[in-house]
């Protein structure tokens, strides 16, 4: 196995990192999702601790989300989220060295209610040593048809700066370098357009529909990940080289959710999402959720989720030779794979005595197990034993744990 000099010491930091725009989308979910047209979200505070453990990666940290009305028409929200990452993943072992880092994200949002319309706007900022991202968003929701239907239109815009961390060979200190892309410091711009619809179907059933178009332009590659290409007779039979990504991406996603209230006070939810993009990825997601209250205090949840995707056009686990295509990637997020997730949660609701301004409270715990089965991503660390291109396919098993407390006031 050959390593390029820079790759040998570079800290592969983005292994467990979400693309900045996706993070933004998720944050928007936290901030804007409770906003119903015609009614402002409840005043509420949540404090969560999350832990992810799998593939020799541990990620943990807090998330604090607070919502508060100001007057009758305005609701403000704020979120602080942190990822403390400790990684020695298969990608890190292949082309870099284990690392620790922290990402911090803050966001502020506002929802203004006017009649049956709700106007939402906000700002999100995310910082880590080698990536900085800022995003603004705006959305309008409208209740109609006797409040049976809610239509929401959203727009968001994001600006990122990308850097690269490396270990200085002389001082052994981590230094952050500017990446130059097309002769300029590396940046990425993002735009997103969304349409959501919720429709009450019967007195027991509600349907949700979401459509989202996302575009990215700029430096979209992971600077730490490498492709590999065949080089018989050298090392383990392959050589590592830099990835080459397109500088644009447009994706389209549509999902439907059907939620049904069962006769004995429980809820069943079925979800499906279709996704495709200009990189050639086609994906399907199916999820089934069941919620079952027990007595006055307990609510239990169960989840089954299945996800399947095809590979990007320019992805390969092992390219035949150097410079084989104009675009080349080996990020396993772009590989073909399917995954299963099984999850369960419990929520205990209680009253806090002696604190009259807290109307209700809950203590919650949730555990999920994720199994990812790759179809064309091999464990290149075993190339010395099996030969390049004949290694066993990689599998990822991960446990995800959440514990959080919520209060309503």
């Amino acid at each position: 196995m050959q390593l390029t000099g820079e790759a040998r010491c570079a800290h592969t930091r983005r292994q467990a990192r979400l693309s900045p725009f996706t993070r933004t989308l998720l944050t928007l979910g936290a901030i804007t999702a409770p906003a119903l047209a015609g009614v402002l979200p409840e005043d509420r505070a949540d404090v969560l601790w999350h832990t992810y453990n799998g593939g020799d990666i541990t990620i943990e940290g807090p998330s604090v989300l607070v919502r508060k009305k100001v007057g009758d028409n305005l609701s403000l929200s704020a979120n602080y989220y942190e990822d403390m990452i400790s990684s020695a993943s298969i990608d890190v072992k292949l082309s870099a060295s284990p690392y620790h880092e922290t990402r911090r994200q803050e966001s502020l949002g506002a929802d203004y209610l006017h009649g049956k319309s709700t106007y939402s706007a906000g700002f999100i900022t995310s910082k880590e040593p080698d990536y900085k991202a800022n995003t603004t968003y705006f959305a309008v929701s409208q209740d109609m048809f006797g409040d049976l239907t809610t239509l929401t239109l959203g727009y968001r815009r994001g600006w990122d700066r990308i850097y690269e961390d490396r270990k200085d060979s002389q001082t052994q200190q981590i230094v952050t370098d500017t990446i130059f892309y097309n002769g300029r410091p590396a940046t990425a711009d993002h735009r997103g357009y969304s349409l959501s619809l919720s429709q009450i179907l019967t007195r027991n059933a509600i349907l949700g529909f979401n459509y989202e178009l996302l575009t990215d332009q700029g430096y979209l590659a992971n600077p730490y990940r490498k492709i590999r290409y065949l080089s018989p007779g050298q090392g383990a039979g392959f050589t590592l080289a830099d990835q080459v990504y397109p500088n644009t991406r447009t994706s389209y996603a549509a999902s439907a959710q059907l939620k049904y209230y069962l006769p004995y006070r429980a809820a069943l939810t079925g979800q499906y999402r279709y996704f495709h993009d200009t990189w050639g990825i086609l994906a399907h997601t199916v999820e089934l959720d069941y919620t079952h209250p027990v007595g006055k205090h307990w609510i239990f949840d169960g989840t089954l989720r299945y996800y399947r995707q095809g590979a990007a056009d320019f992805y390969s686990d092992l390219f035949p030779r150097a410079n084989y295509q104009n675009f080349m990637a080996r990020d396993r997020e772009l590989a073909a794979f399917h995954s299963y997730t099984v999850g369960a949660g419990a929520s205990y609701q209680f009253q806090v005595s002696g604190v009259p301004w807290i109307s209700k409270s809950s203590a919650n715990v949730r555990v999920d197990h994720l199994l990812v089965d790759y179809s064309d991503f091999r464990n290149a660390l075993l190339a010395g034993t099996y030969g390049a291109g004949n290694e066993p396919l990689y599998k990822l098993n991960a446990n995800i744990f959440q514990v959080f407390v919520s209060i309503w006031f």
Partner: protein
């Protein structure tokens, strides 16, 4: 093999915005002659139950989506939608 991922055309965005605008206009026009709600307000008590929320605990569901989207190529259209329950 040469691959050429398609570029996001400006016309596509324009078409989408036109479609959204048309949808809004249609919705606004339809609002002038809105059909009688077939689920009356007093029949919507189940939608006021927290277990019928598409996103009962946003801080938790957002984190879990974060975990999935870190490891998947797909993104978007996961946001919860408004309730429209008219339960207040």
């Amino acid at each position: 093999m040469r691959v050429s991922p398609g570029l996001p055309s400006a016309s596509l965005t324009v078409k989408l915005m036109r479609a959204l605008t048309a949808a809004l206009l249609l919705a606004a026009l339809a609002g002038c002659a809105a059909p009688t709600p077939w689920v009356k307000p007093f029949e919507r008590e189940h939608f006021a139950d927290p277990i019928m929320s598409f996103n009962r605990d946003p801080v938790s569901s957002t984190y879990l989506q974060h975990v999935f989207e870190t490891r998947e190529g797909a993104r978007g259209a996961t946001g919860s939608v408004g309730g429209g329950c008219g339960c207040n």
